[in-house]
């Protein structure tokens, strides 16, 4: 309970003392992989903050993308500030990527899917980085994204991967749409839909997490959508894993719908169109307890809605699911 109070107090102070003098600014930052990128920041009283006020949700209702710093703790979060708007210190790298990639997620949701932030109604998008020490995870906690630094062996800071950041934000979208129960097949659909979104934004391969996973080993990843078997995950209903671990294998059996997405997107030659169908299916045609079979029906329904049931897309989609044994 300490943390929200701290933030509220600080935010109130900021608004009271500096509010009217805030200006949107464009800085440059160095990411986890050492690359340079342009980031949207806010200038208040001569100091730059990792607050992005450039999105539609800001004009609509004053919502920003805010990136905070756990400073390797697990409770209090602090503002990121910089004097010259060149975010190039080592500790800033995770924040730069978390901020930049969250911006890309907002843009994709808004421009390509017509969704205003994860809730569809302009909710601010907050991220906390440097969570705990050596923490090999990143997750949506129901109200914000929380990102660990990784231990340097298994992971680099996890927000250094666009597909992972996109994946986690999409869990928030799922919460506000189909609201999949995170268990069994509906849980695996939750994971798979999040992977599909990740691979649509980070579209240079079909791997998930390759940019931050095992820095000492090139070319490996957490999962593959084109070949789930490469990481021990099933890619066909014949290989469905029945287990009680991992909420019923939600990170394992996701391989099956993942492969269906891969099949579909590659057969029509567009991840964007495939994602649009996946999103409409999620929003309009699936309930919390949807099974793989329901997902097939729902994506076909969304495809019919968007492109017609006599379209090539519709046929390709049916084939994509059939190929993984979801009939």
């Amino acid at each position: 309970m300490k943390k929200p109070l701290l933030l509220t107090l600080a935010a109130t102070l900021a608004v009271t003392l500096l509010g009217s003098t805030a200006h949107a600014a464009t800085g440059t930052g160095t990411g986890v992989l050492g690359d340079t990128k342009s980031i949207n920041t806010t200038l208040k009283s001569g100091t730059y903050y990792l607050e992005d006020q450039t999105k539609y949700m800001y004009t609509q209702k004053g919502s920003s993308i805010n990136t905070y710093n756990y400073r390797n703790g697990i409770s209090a979060q602090y503002f990121w500030t910089d004097a010259d708007n060149v975010w190039n210190t080592t500790t800033q790298r995770a924040a730069v990527d978390a901020h930049y990639y969250t911006g890309l997620v907002y843009d994709y949701l808004y421009n390509k899917l017509g969704r205003n932030s994860y809730d569809g109604n302009g909710a601010p998008m907050n991220v906390g980085v440097h969570y705990s020490t050596n923490y090999n995870n990143i997750f949506w906690n129901g109200s914000q994204l929380i990102c660990g630094d990784g231990d340097g062996v298994t992971f680099r800071p996890l927000c250094g991967a666009l597909d992972i950041v996109a994946h986690e934000w999409f869990h928030a979208v799922i919460d506000y749409t189909a609201g999949f129960v995170y268990n069994g097949q509906s849980g695996a659909l939750s994971e798979s839909w999040a992977d599909a979104f990740g691979a649509t934004l980070d579209n240079n391969d079909w791997l998930i997490g390759e940019d931050v996973y095992t820095p000492a080993t090139a070319g490996d990843a957490v999962r593959s959508m084109s070949n789930p078997n490469a990481y021990g995950d099933p890619d066909h209903m014949d290989e469905y894993v029945t287990t009680t671990a991992d909420n019923g294998g939600v990170h394992t059996n996701s391989g099956i719908p993942n492969k269906a997405f891969y099949n579909f997107a590659t057969s029509i030659g567009s991840r964007d169109i495939a994602m649009k169908i996946w999103y409409i299916a999620l929003r309009d045609y699936m309930t919390s307890t949807a099974t793989f079979h329901d997902a097939r029906l729902a994506t076909l329904a969304a495809c019919a809605q968007l492109y017609g049931s006599s379209s090539t897309y519709y046929t390709r989609l049916a084939e994509a699911w059939t190929a993984v044994g979801v009939l």
Binding site: I74, N137, W140, T243, N247, H293, A304
Partner: protein, 517 residues
């Protein structure tokens, strides 16, 4: 199996025309069912409904399909959750199932209609009977129960304060009046839980943690000084533990340290700060852990057995048992390894075949349950050796990796030539003794040699081991003797490869060659 197949085939033929809303004339009403006969979707021409609001239209639409879904009246059975009109003008109205005005967890309907023309209904509905409509617990008690069951302190760093929502939780065809207690908390292990607490008796019906486990992968130096990569560990509070949570088990693979005591009460977790397990006191633990994972994988990948009990039980190992202890054993619930005397033997977990051997004793206990005495006892030993030589497949020796150069031994046993170590390789040499439970470690040479004969004849230790495992699981009793083992393995080979197969013939020859008929 077949039934399900037919059901899915029927489904697939319907799917082609499902939701064909943009394709000219809509088809007649179609009802899609899952393999249990549960209706999950109704599509096609459901007709026109009236109503000023989306809710009225949705309820009217549901009434049109109430026969298919099996409810009496939509009003009172469903309550609108949300509704929106999509880019094509189709309104999608999502409704929660309610009983006695209380929502049912995760049971929803979605009605799809355009200006009152109903195009389909997506259903998560099932008919449920409520156990009661009276909660006997208040929400405060429910929250206490949920926090206690998840070991969460009431003053934890909540990012989402615990809140309880009264609802029905579906369990079979029953709807159990429950509280869904939701909370998220920061901490060394962050959590985000939905805990379902029975509103009558306070029992926990279900727990879902939406923050995944933090499995880690480290490196470790084994007993022989060689570094192993891919050591599965668990990161908790910034410290790594020798706990492998990466397997699809209900439990985990865990390795702990007795620190040279024989008294199991004092057992210590093995931990490491940087996930590089390179201290000399960690070596026995690294190998016990790593090899247990390999044995787990062999059983899972080759014969689809999930751990010793085939229900995902934890594989527990204890290392550094006693002082200079020259043995390893399975005690009915865990593996224990001594350090060896340092003259003849290294730490016993340093040999993959020894680890596979001990774990297979566990598997045998849960399958045939061979009595550890006389011929059934020798079979118990032999089955463990066979799996040891299958998983550690570069020779036919047992324990060679932990025999120190310059010591008295080069290995414990040979499956290829049991006589090298004084064990019989033929029934003619069978040893009648009361020592060693009736010579279980010597007469095992006879079935060991049969396994060797068989595996080399068919050119596959893996296939031979599949036959051995299947025989133990399906065709052997606790008192099976050598001749019974021959019959059991032949039955297993027949089941797997057919009795007319060359595998079957090779197996007959393998047993005959050691004088077992």
């Amino acid at each position: 199996m077949n039934k399900k197949m037919i059901a899915t085939l029927v489904l697939s033929s319907l799917v082609a025309s499902a939701f064909a809303v943009n394709a000219g004339a809509a088809p007649d009403k179609q009802v899609l069912k899952d393999e249990n006969g549960q209706v999950h979707t109704v599509v096609g021409q459901l007709g026109k409904v009236s109503g000023a609001t989306a809710e009225e239209r949705a309820l009217n639409a549901l009434d049109k399909a109430k026969g298919e879904f099996g409810f009496d009246k939509a009003a009172g059975t469903f309550k609108v959750k949300k509704s929106h009109k999509d880019e094509n003008g189709t309104t999608h109205t999502k409704l929660d199932q309610v009983i006695n005005g209380i929502p049912v967890f995760a049971q929803q309907m979605i009605v799809h209609e355009t200006e009152g023309t109903v195009e389909g209904i997506t259903s998560g509905y099932q008919a449920l009977t409520a156990n009661t409509d009276k909660a006997r617990l208040n929400d405060k008690k429910a929250i206490q129960a949920a926090l206690a069951s998840t070991n969460t302190a009431s003053d934890a760093a909540f990012t989402q304060a615990p809140a309880a929502e009264l609802l029905y939780f579906p369990q079979g065809d029953q709807a159990i009046l429950s509280y869904k207690v939701s909370f998220a908390a920061d901490g060394e292990t962050p959590v985000r839980y939905d805990v379902f607490v029975n509103a009558v008796d306070g029992t926990i019906l279900n727990t879902i943690n939406k923050v995944e486990h933090t499995a880690a992968v480290g490196t470790g130096v084994g007993v022989d000084g060689v570094t192993k990569t891919g050591l599965n560990t668990n990161l908790k509070s910034g410290t790594y533990y020798l706990e492998d949570v990466s397997k699809p088990m209900t439990g985990m693979i865990r390795t702990r340290d007795l620190r040279n005591s024989t008294f199991g009460f004092f057992i210590y977790n093995m931990t490491d700060a940087d996930n590089h397990w390179d201290a000399s006191t960690q070596r026995a633990g690294v190998d016990a852990h790593y090899y247990a994972g390999m044995v787990y994988d062999w059983y899972k990948n080759n014969v689809n057995r999930n751990s010793i009990n085939d229900a995902g039980m934890s594989l527990e190992s204890r290392v550094r048992y006693g002082s200079k202890y020259n043995n390893a054993f399975w005690d009915g619930s865990q593996m224990t390894y001594g350090d060896g005397d340092g003259v003849n033997f290294r730490a016993f977990s340093g040999a993959l075949d020894v680890v596979a051997h001990e774990l297979t004793h566990g598997v045998t206990e849960y399958t045939s349950g061979l009595v550890y005495q006389n011929q059934s006892g020798a079979l118990n030993e032999s089955w463990s050796d066979a799996l040891g030589a299958t998983i550690d497949s570069n020779d036919w020796l047992m324990g060679e990796d932990i025999c120190l150069p310059g010591g008295t031994y080069t290995a414990f046993r040979s499956m290829q030539d049991p006589t090298l170590y004084g064990d019989p390789a033929h029934m003619n040499d069978y040893i009648n003794t009361t020592d060693d439970n009736g010579g279980v470690h010597s007469n095992s040479g006879i079935p060991n040699k049969a396994f060797y004969n068989f595996a080399t004849a068919i050119g596959s230790r893996n296939n031979a081991a599949k036959v051995w495992y299947t025989a133990s699981r399906d065709y052997m009793t606790s008192s099976t003797n050598f001749s019974g083992a021959r019959a059991a393995t032949l039955q297993a080979a027949s089941a797997l490869y057919g009795s007319g197969s060359s595998t079957y013939t090779a197996l007959q020859n393998a047993w005959s060659a050691v004088g077992v008929y």
